[in-house]
Symmetry: C2
Subunit: 246 residues, 2 copies
Amino acid sequence: MSNRVRLFVETSLRKDGIIPLNDKQMHYITKVMRLGLGNKLVVFNGKDGEWHAEIIHISKRLCNIKIIRFVGKSENESDISLVFSLLKRGATDLLVEKATELGVSRLCPMISKRTNTFKVNANRLKAISIEASEQCGRVTVPIIEQPKTLGNILAEWPRQKGLLFLDESGSGKPILEVLREKTSWQAHAILVGPEGGFTPAERDKMLQNSFIRPATLGERLVRAETAAISALSIYNAIMAIDHYKN
Amino acid sequence: MSNRVRLFVETSLRKDGIIPLNDKQMHYITKVMRLGLGNKLVVFNGKDGEWHAEIIHISKRLCNIKIIRFVGKSENESDISLVFSLLKRGATDLLVEKATELGVSRLCPMISKRTNTFKVNANRLKAISIEASEQCGRVTVPIIEQPKTLGNILAEWPRQKGLLFLDESGSGKPILEVLREKTSWQAHAILVGPEGGFTPAERDKMLQNSFIRPATLGERLVRAETAAISALSIYNAIMAIDHYKN
């Protein structure tokens, strides 16, 4: 599958359905990937699994594809969210791209005391996550939430869902140990702070919640986006063992 | 230490030594970080550990710093190399930056059958790795080797040093398992192929070597640079446990 052209579409998918591509999709399919009439591609919409489709019409302004057959639902999609402090544009872009590749189901931008960027271009982040999903073979696209303050995120957090806090202060146990501990606590989300970390008051407030576990990536200082990518990689490495054994 | 200004210098370091900064360093220190006469900074050269220094002279064209005192040697620097297929410029830049943050001691660009970029700007990669070292608190800077073919890398490889091969074909065990196995084999380097992977012939040739162990990151398709960052993150997570226990 890896060399197949994959396209995310917003419409629902069923056999024999015909989908007109928008300008951006048409450019990608005909100019970037150089497909033509009769060529096959894979489409997905994040809900209905993966389908084969065929280009049945191309003109200067229009490209239609027809859904041929169902390929499959998503296997092994993980259910891990990432709560991250808004970073500078390049760092946020990278984080969204890599978190998508690494299978994050939900991206939750957060504003905390030391967050120093407040602008979010939701369309831009969505476009990045769609492109990454197309390229990495995902059948879903992560949900990108509206930014919320740390206070609101904590107040609204579902108590039964474990939140792993990447604690720069190093107080937590090593992340691999926290994720593999056999307790009733299970990580459903990873939380990474801004460059410069959380304030002591924020940290204390977080650690009062029993759904939060602090963890450390080690003594090395890494940027916030690297910390997020590392934590997701480690989470996936553990999942890979569980899948391998079953 | 994290908020200190850190500067990599090419000269050797000893107490009371005076170092004239070059234009780029001067720009960084005075314009970007806005330090002035009498301000302190941290310097390192990759060999002599970390030192405190002070700005003792600033004029329009010249900035001198004086070495004040020794801070310390590097603690816990890991000895892991990364052998990677040359990628497109942006991807190679990202890989060098993140691998530096993640503590790689040596970066070995590789050319294999499906490598489709052959240009390397060694100075550019060195500058990226120096900047990343300055920012992440490393006391060393990774060595960046000249590109070699896969054949040459295998032929010259020191047999006693384990090479973990990120095998996209999924034949290997999960990476966490391979890295934690209690055998005489130990990973000293991680090998990541080009986008599109290795050819079957290359793969067979690699697996004939007993110093090579294949491993999988899981079923998810990720880009080559993401695979490298993930593998290094997982390696570090294991090291973090070992340090925590000792």
